[in-house]
Amino acid sequence: MTLTWLQLVGLTVLGIAAGGAGSLTGIGGGLVITPVLTLLFGIPIHQAIATSLCCVIATSTGAAATYVEHRLADIRLGMTLELATTLGAITGSFVAGWLSREALAILFALLLTYAGSTMVRRSLKGREIEAAGQERYQAKRLPLGLAGSGAAGVVSGMLGVGGGVIKVPLMYLVMGVPFKVATATSNFMIGVTAAASAFIYYSRGDVRPLLTAPTAVGVFIGASLGAHLMRRTPSRWLVLLFSAIAYYFAVLMVWRSLHGGFAR
């Protein structure tokens, strides 16, 4: 294994960008890391996903520390739903091992499209959601929440994303949890979900230290910087830009799958 300066810098910059974007927009760096690694760096998608999972752990852990400190995360609810997400994550990770690179790329493209659309809708909805605060609540519809969390776990394990794109709406819209608590709790849950997946990828040899470490260190830097530069509410155009990028990646992933695939 070698690591050239160019690779190191490239991976670290990617990490910083992903960490910063995740920190500023609240939307996963995981969605960005896998496509860039696959399309730009030419990394096999299973390794890219493994790297992405580790970076997702890095972002989640840092963010969750702050959310718990500020008493925003519902730890009990999170732990309950984690039963489902971790089981889903392990399942998803195994399934990913059985799928071809092209198949995973197409599934990833679907996720990117879904995420892009969610972002567009969210930016159009504006600030009303953010305003909802710390009112008392009772999480409802637990069975549905567990099922949804299980699905989010599968997606996380299979595609290397945090799954917040599914978990936050699930808690907020379906379970009646206030938006900020949903975001904080989702962040809290992502760490252990991704960890459960990551160990499975580790067992397959998909975790490459010289690939993962620079990116993860970059994510840490980016997320910390993002938190400092932070304007808690991301500007509308930033989120829209992000969706544009997501759609662009989706198209690229599909195109690559259909034209020559990812064989190296």
């Binding site: 520390a65 309950t80 960890a195 459960a196 993860a216």
Partner: protein, 116 residues
């Protein structure tokens, strides 16, 4: 709604997360620095086992240290679950003690796959 002991639990959990991410990132960074300094590194031979890994870390093997850093990163959320379980136990919150132990059991199975 939040009891005194719950405060301590949340402090403990956020501390684990905070220090875990700092430590793992530091170790990864050190490993990477060594990799760059040494240039070419030997790929890890042999199966992943704690013994192998600790041994290579003690020899200041760059790849080994980097890998230890990554493992620390992956284990931080796991430690967090353990701390949560202990906190629930201390609070005599049996329901959530059982739930956290359940989560721990699931993650443990996946760790076992990694070590096998």
């Amino acid at each position: 709604m939040v009891e005194f002991s719950d405060e301590k639990a949340q402090d403990a959990i956020s501390a684990v997360l905070r220090y875990g991410s700092l430590l793992s990132t530091a170790v990864m960074a050190i490993g990477l620095a060594l990799v760059l300094w040494r240039g070419q590194v030997m790929p890890r031979s042999g199966a992943l086992s704690l013994g192998n890994l600790l041994y290579s870390a003690l020899r200041l093997d760059p790849a080994g240290i980097t890998e230890v850093g990554i493992l620390l990163l992956l284990l931080t959320p796991v430690f967090r679950v353990v701390v949560a379980a202990v906190s629930f136990g201390l609070e005599r919150d049996v329901k959530y003690l059982v739930i956290s132990l359940g989560v721990f059991a699931v993650v443990l199975t996946s760790i076992i796959f990694a070590i096998h």
